[in-house]
Amino acid sequence: MLAWTIYITFFGVLVLMLLPRDNARAARIVALLTAIAGCVVALVGAIQQTNPGEVTTIVKADWIPAIGANYYLAADGISLVLVVLTGLAAVSGILFSWNIEKRTKEFFAFYLVLIGGVYGVFLSFDLLLLFVFYELTIIPKYFLIARWGSTRKEYGAMKLALYSFVGSHLVLIGLIAAWVVAKGQLGHASLDLIELSKVHFSAGFQHWVFPLVFVGFAILAGMWPFHTWAPTGHVAAPTAGSMLLAGVVMKLGAYGCLRVAMLMFPEGVREWQWAIAALAVGGIVYGAGVALVQKDFKFVIGYSSVSHMGFVLLGLATLNTIGLDGAVLQMFSHGIIAGLLFAVVGRMVYDRTHTRDFNDLETMQLGKVIPFAGVTFVIAGIASMGLPGFSGFIAELQVLMGAWQVFPKMTILAGVGILVGVAYTLRAMQKAFYSDAPPKPVDHDHPMEPITVAERFGAVMLISASLVIGLFPNLLMNWIEPCFKSPLFARLLSGGAQ
């Protein structure tokens, strides 16, 4: 059933392409219906899956027998979490780009290709298939930003595309080498992820292949110091683009790190564990510190994404179940919260004020003019700071608990990062919405467009998702926990601190 998330999305692309060029309304509705259908299928399919701890096959068919590639879609609890996240992000992204008037049809076509590719990555258990979907997401990202973006859009788009492409090529080198070695050991060509996760690659081989593949994926997860595409890309992207970048695309990278690099090369992980943790903490602290001094509202959120993704990587580096649980939950949580923050900055504020400079925003009294945006940002900001009751709290707490067992000193540093996070969020909140700077006279001839119904729907949807998971984390933990107790991850976790 879950496979239909992919098919429905690409079918939506086909329908969009057949629409007449000038009918923006039809394009929006088709895109929204497609995304809702995908989201519903994702939710229902995820709930229907009875044993999230096991990898449940959805489709498995011969694809290219000569190299052992199968059309193999399957899901375990981790995939379920991320597929549901993708569904939610897709729907809310469309709600927040309802005002796209320029070449609407093409915009949503690229948008849905991106979504379809993301669903595909999260459901692929064949390496080649996963890689195909992974690269499929690069092209729409480029065009979405370069065509519909804002500040330095062509630069940001090209930077993002090149970073992604270089990353995926690092992965490709590792995959080809691993494929050849595995073929020698198994006696037949295989690209089946589960089969490959049982192959024993020599320690010397893992020593250099693991960092290659891990870094290749981690570039897209915004790992410091390869994160520089993220702030520029986020800032340049149109609202829906940054929502998707932060919401799901960065998760692609983290998911690849976990599902491919760590699962296949467990000894490599153990060897590089410290390095990953150090870079993750570096990202947490650096991202938060830089976010604190930005003048551009969107850059604050962009750098905060780098900081929050650092928690995902830190969780992965712990190699214990609680840390990994936290990492996966943080992927979901950050996807929702960052999406919401970008929606406020990009759609609610920038599209109305045409500025993101705090100095200008301070004079606009936005908290009074568009109170809905102010309230939404406060709620999202609280969630982002990691206050109890929201999903971010439980996720980051687990990551820190896991990390404390392995690297206590670095965990303290990460905690400092959280404090700085509180500071930059409050600063942004105050400057953008509730400043007491002398107000600029209001232009009554061009009143600000009120918050639309679509925006309200999108915001409520994301806030409730974060709240529900914050209050009932077991909804997702019941999917995530059994995965890390399953035999698939046994090899990865066996040597780590429990």
């Binding site: 890689f131 195909v132 690269e135 090149l162 090529h169 080198i173 050849v180």
Partner: protein
């Protein structure tokens, strides 16, 4: 061994030869005085009918034969390559039907067919003499095709350059062949292999090896013998450039692999990291590495799309050479998959360039601005071709690269050839940038206000759409092609 048998075995070539004369005759008689479009359509129809029947014949027969001690070798593998060459010829002819650069329709089409005949003979021989003769037959047709635009000085310049370089390379090749004949006393590749095998490595063989490599290096435009390619691609009429970049590439690589893997058995050497051993593989490895680097890095700064495609062709020749030097059955079939899908993609890309060029007067990058609005279908085709060249899944170019690179890595013991693959993959990441530049012009930039409208002739568009479909199809289901290779 009688001449009837010869005629029977070379039936596909014979059919194309007959078609050539029919086309020429029809253009001089029946079609004389008709409009240019009518003459092109009529001539193209006859040529395509001939090519299709030749291809069907080659495809349907499952003959294994070896005539005159390797002078004419027919087997399913060479037959399939012939089918591929004929298909590429058909596509070349289809995109030339809207050409306006010449009114010598019969001559133009028959030269394409003549080149095709040369290429077909080239792939079905294991004899140095025959290789040389058919290669020259093909090359001479290509020289003339390059010069065919009489109104454009660049076309003449390009052809002269191409001809001089080509003539020189032919001399090198012939010199190498003569030494090989001197060593082995035979022009048959297998005889040469037996003669070399016992001898160890002598200086004469080294000279023969190097000059042969130089000769073929020119033909496939590998660095440092590539200098003619950008000028020839840029100056030649676009369909001619497409033909140079497609059909001729397929045949050249097939025969290049054949010469080295059949004729130089025992003189391989080793190109693996840490265990270099002189022989032909390290020579090719160096040429391949240089081609990948220079081709990709130079393509970045091009502003003429045809020149950009020329440098990308040099880079792709580098990737393909990896398939030759790894020298296993797996890598050979991976290389042929790569070359054939590359050739299909290249014709497509040149087809799009031709349409834009006809409408706007040049192939400058800025003329592609706003293509997605001016001609959405054409822009979509261009996107598919360029992304395939860049190696984006699920297109044929990606699967080709995966096949090729994994075959190369499997070939060297202890991942010894991985250094070449790492270089290739790194360079392929570079290549993405310049393909994206063209797509950026087409999809992101807005057209200038006075930009002329772009009308795609129906036949050309159908051909391009079919090519794009094939590029997707071979990417999604590569088994359709690999089963024959």
């Amino acid at each position: 061994m009688n001449y009837l048998q010869l005629l029977q075995l070379s039936a596909p070539e014979t059919i194309v030869t007959v078609t050539l004369f029919v086309v020429l005759g029809a253009d001089l008689t029946v079609l004389r005085g008709k409009s240019l479009a009518a003459r092109f359509n009529g001539g193209a129809l006859i040529s395509i009918l001939g090519c299709v029947s030749a291809a069907l014949l080659a495809f349907a027969r499952h003959t294994e034969a070896n005539l005159f001690n390797g002078l004419l070798v027919v087997n399913p593998s060479s037959d399939f390559v012939k089918v591929a060459i004929l298909a590429l010829t058909i596509f070349t002819i289809l995109i030339s039907t809207s050409a306006k650069f010449t009114d010598h329709v019969g001559e133009y089409l028959s030269l394409i067919l003549l080149g095709t005949i040369g290429l077909m003979f080239l792939v079905s021989t294991e004899d140095l003499l025959m290789i040389f003769v058919s290669l020259e037959l093909a090359s001479f047709s290509l020289y003339i095709l390059t010069a065919f635009n009489k109104h454009n000085e660049k076309s003449a310049e390009a052809a002269l350059k191409y001809f001089l370089f080509g003539g020189m390379s032919a001399a090198f090749m012939l010199f190498g062949f003569s030494l090989l004949y001197g060593i082995a006393g035979s022009t048959n590749l297998r005889d040469i292999a037996t003669a070399i095998a016992g001898k160890g490595f002598d200086p004469l063989l080294l000279v023969a090896l190097v000059t042969t490599v130089i000769g073929f290096g020119f033909k496939v435009a590998a660095v440092p013998f590539h200098l003619w390619a950008p000028d020839a691609y840029e100056g030649a009429p676009t369909p001619s450039a497409a033909f140079i970049g497609s059909g001729s590439k397929v045949a050249s690589f097939y025969v290049l692999a054949k010469i080295f893997t059949l004729g130089f058995v025992g003189a391989e050497g080793n190109a693996a990291y840490h265990s270099f051993l002189s022989g032909w593989t390290p020579v090719i490895a160096i040429i391949a590495a240089l081609s990948m680097m220079l081709g990709n890095l130079t393509a970045i700064v091009q502003f003429s799309v045809k020149r950009l495609l020329a440098y990308s062709a040099i880079a792709h020749a580098g990737y393909m050479l990896l398939g030759v030097l790894s020298n296993t059955p797996l890598s050979a079939s991976a290389m042929m998959f790569y070359v054939i899908t590359y050739a299909l993609t290249t014709i497509g890309a040149f087809g799009v360039v031709m349409v834009v060029e006809d409408a706007t007067g040049s192939d400058a990058l800025k003329n592609f601005n706003g293509l997605s609005k001016r001609a959405p279908g054409l822009a979509l085709c261009l996107m598919i071709f360029l992304l395939s060249l860049g190696g984006i899944p699920p297109l044929a170019g990606f699967i080709g690269k995966f096949f090729l690179f994994s075959a190369v890595v499997s070939a060297g013991a202890n991942l010894g050839l991985l250094w070449l693959v790492i270089l290739a993959i790194a360079m392929s990441a570079v290549s993405f940038y310049y393909y994206l530049r063209v797509l950026k012009a087409a999809y992101v930039e807005d057209a200038a206000a006075d930009a002329p409208a772009i009308r795609t002739p129906l036949v050309t568009f159908l051909a391009l759409a079919l090519l794009a479909l094939l590029v997707i199809l071979f990417g999604v289901a590569p088994g359709l092609l690999t089963q024959y290779l």
